[in-house]
Amino acid sequence: MKYLFVLMNQEGGMEDASPEEMKEELDRWDAYGKEAIGNGVFIAGEAVQPSETTSTVRIKEGEEPVVSDGPFAESKEQLGGFYLFECKDLDEALEYAKRIPYRDGIVEVRPAMDFSEYGYESPTPGPIKATAA
């Protein structure tokens, strides 16, 4: 079953980090992602740029979409990234979520919709196969 981890956090804190600190931070994420790939659970995952880079398109059926700068909702916590993992059940997904290497933040864990009940296959390909480095 596919689970989406939506990572929310307070922004900032890394602006004044030295390249060494940045490297150390990224190494943690690197290790986590690689472990997930090695375990055959990793489908997709990205960190996103700061919320100031966000464009929001508001949509209402029958009306022209409206584009504005900034996130959909101004809140203290903002989207920082996501993972899409193939896990055998929710417990396994929660174990991975608990180990996400953010310094401080919140992870929302949501099962991906089961399209099979509508006669559709999931649009996203399966987990990435680990390849020898």
């Binding site: 690197d30 966000t54 996400i100």
Partner: protein
Amino acid sequence: MRFLLTLIGPEGGWEDITPEQVAEEMKHWEAYGKETVEAGAFVAGEGLEPTQTAKTVRGGRGEERVVTDGPFAETKEQVGGFYLLECKDLDEAVGWAKRCPISEGGVEVRPVLDYAAYGYDDPAEAGATPAPKS
């Protein structure tokens, strides 16, 4: 350049619809998804089960992390799905967002981290989604 499109909108409205209406609704998503694939933009994308299925994990690094039922924030609008698209620029990404077949809500368009700026040639080296095989 990769962009994350986060689909946000009011939940519900699907509980009482007929299988025919579901099929009709799915047609829009199927067509849109296929178009993103054929344009070479599609990297990943999913619809999500309702927020009543959500669990939220809180706690900083080194702390015991606590799991609670429900979404991160109790708001009228919730994340309903996402697309990860490869686009040449923001305009193209916003163009996809404008055509996303949601009936009401919004699409947040965010560029993903520029991993190359941190010395990673392939995002996979940074533990992110690998570049598509060409």
